[in-house]
């Protein structure tokens, strides 16, 4: 069964078209990076997959289903700027919230096995020592890892990440990619990024989005595709190394 199956998807915001005839298939254990300029529809596609925006035509299937139940198989990692980092909550509490059941739970307490699992996950993402810290005391990279741990707490079959390395320093970003590479042995991963430099060697497939799907395939881009995508020359990706120093590019309307 395909993990994600998007067919003929159109999404409009009022009279503005955000996505045009998207067809995309994600298979078991893929690691897909969806790339494109800001405003190119990446977030909209993500929201359509999560069922957060109304679809004008076409359909999105998650593990063959389209209801709420199949969406609960998604472990969502939001862009960290969308989450309030000053909220009074500790690291371990955030992870535990990933274990909440659907609907309201009356006088709910997390049980022992959930707590143990939360600690395990924090160790896995490298935050074991910080579990009792308040989230406001975490660095950007640590906070991003925390959001990944929370998503893992939901026992997902698909991990969906929105700009996981935006505003994270180089070494944290490497950590995050090696973590994702490790996780990818068991679960399918789809991430969205506007940062061409952010594509790691762990990524197995690349999709480029600018209103429509411009490209989908191996994570190697030709100059032609990239120029078509961003409307100006940008760095090209060399395959196999985590950091690429690439061709010079001029300032233009592309995203940095």
């Amino acid at each position: 069964m395909n993990v994600i199956e998007v067919s003929g998807l159109d999404v409009y915001y009022g009279s503005v078209q955000a996505l045009k005839d998207i067809n995309l298939v994600v298979r078991e254990r893929d690691f897909l990076a969806i790339m494109g300029p800001n405003g190119g529809g990446k977030s909209t596609l993500l929201k359509a997959i999560l069922g957060l925006v109304p679809v004008d035509s076409g359909e999105v299937k998650i593990f063959g289903g389209s209801g709420r139940k199949s969406r609960r198989l998604i472990g969502y990692v939001p862009q960290f700027s969308s989450v309030d980092r000053n909220f009074p909550i500790s690291v371990i509490e955030v992870v535990l919230l990933g274990a909440l059941k659907p609907g309201l739970s009356f006088f709910h307490k997390f049980n022992r096995s959930e707590k143990l699992r939360a600690v395990d996950l924090l160790n896995k993402v490298g935050l074991g020592d910080l579990k009792d810290r308040n989230i406001s005391q975490l660095s950007g990279g640590e906070f991003q890892k925390l959001l990944i741990a929370r998503a893992l707490m939901t026992e997902p079959k698909l991990l969906l990440l929105d700009e996981p390395t935006a505003s994270v320093d180089m070494s944290s970003s490497q950590d995050i990619y090696s973590l994702l590479g490790e996780l990818n042995k068991e679960i399918t991963i789809v991430m969205v990024t506007h940062n061409v430099m952010a594509i790691s060697s762990n990524v197995k497939e690349l999709a480029c989005l600018n209103l429509g799907l411009v490209y989908h395939g191996d994570p190697e881009l030709s100059e032609e595709v990239v120029n078509g995508l961003f409307g100006c020359p940008v760095e090209l990706v060399a395959h196999g190394v985590p950091h690429r120093v690439l061709k010079e590019h001029q300032e233009g309307n592309h995203v940095s």
């Binding site: 919230l97 609907g103 009356f106």
Partner: protein
């Protein structure tokens, strides 16, 4: 004041009302400060004035009218926000004025001398009746129970609404429950500090606790404690200087917040520098 407290029923009622209001302000204040719903709460409070006017016009207890109006306006704002198509800011602003305008129109339609409405606008804690207290007890119990019963759901909702929504953790239900709780709380506070001053009582305790404490439970509890301090402090100052109690409570609360703000920002500077 302490001796008088044992002598006079109205003072005992006032203190009781202050304690109940502190409980409410602790819970709801915490939520609206974290969720940035302060203007929405202000809008709901002011919209209730329409109900006060309607109450006088129809000859029913004005506070029930206020309750009806604040519930309707809270749920309307919630529905319009869900439906989208306009900023909730706009809707809140309009409801804010609409409620006041309706109140004024209704009052001017009341035959004979216009009633004195200043107790609804600015509160009168010294005139709290047993019936008012009963209403406040009910509201305080209902609001606290809803908050405690779904504590983890509230935590998830307040921290990251989008994530909770995707997980199907009853976000829409919580949102509407919250609007109802805010409406109930605002009406309960009208008795004490009035429509216009209610906002400060909701904000100041929670905002002060936010500056000092890092844990959610601690913030809620300390908001309640601060609320009690403000209520009793304002009440005794008003009693000594023979000034309006609601206004004194608000003054104490806001001055306290400013002091905490200045103190903590100095501490912050020292830590950074």
């Amino acid at each position: 004041m302490l001796v008088d407290l044992f002598k006079y029923q109205f003072l005992q009622n006032a203190v009781m009302a202050g304690l109940l209001a502190s409980v409410l302000a602790g819970v709801i204040g915490f939520i609206i400060v974290e969720k940035k719903m302060i203007m929405m709460s202000g809008g709901i409070a002011h919209a209730s004035y329409g109900g006060v006017g309607l109450g006088y016009l129809l000859g029913i207890e004005p506070i029930y009218g206020a309750l009806g109006f604040s519930l309707v306006s809270a749920l309307s704002v919630g529905l319009i926000k869900r439906k989208g198509g306009t900023d909730s800011d706009i809707v809140i602003g309009l409801f804010w004025s609409l409620g006041m305008a309706l109140g004024i129109v209704f009052i001017s339609l009341v035959p004979g001398y216009p009633p004195n409405l200043s107790s609804y606008l600015f509160g009168n804690i010294l005139a709290v009746t047993q019936a008012d207290l009963l209403m406040m007890v009910v509201v305080a119990v209902v609001v606290s129970l809803i908050f405690l019963a779904f504590f983890n759901n509230w935590k998830a909702y307040l921290f990251d609404e989008e994530f909770s929504g995707i997980r199907g953790s009853g976000v829409i239900l919580l949102e509407f429950l919250l609007l109802v709780m805010v409406a109930l709380t605002v009406v309960a506070l009208i008795r004490i500090v009035g429509i216009i001053l209610a906002l400060a009582i909701l904000i100041a305790p929670a905002a002060s606790a936010k500056l000092i404490f890092r844990r959610m439970g601690m913030r809620v509890v300390m908001s309640m404690v601060f609320g009690v301090v403000f209520m009793l402090g304002g009440l005794s100052l008003a009693y000594s200087f023979n000034t309006a109690a609601g206004a004194m409570i608000v003054l104490v609360a806001v001055v306290f917040y400013i002091v905490v703000y200045v103190a903590t920002s100095f501490k912050l500077k020292r830590r950074v520098g």
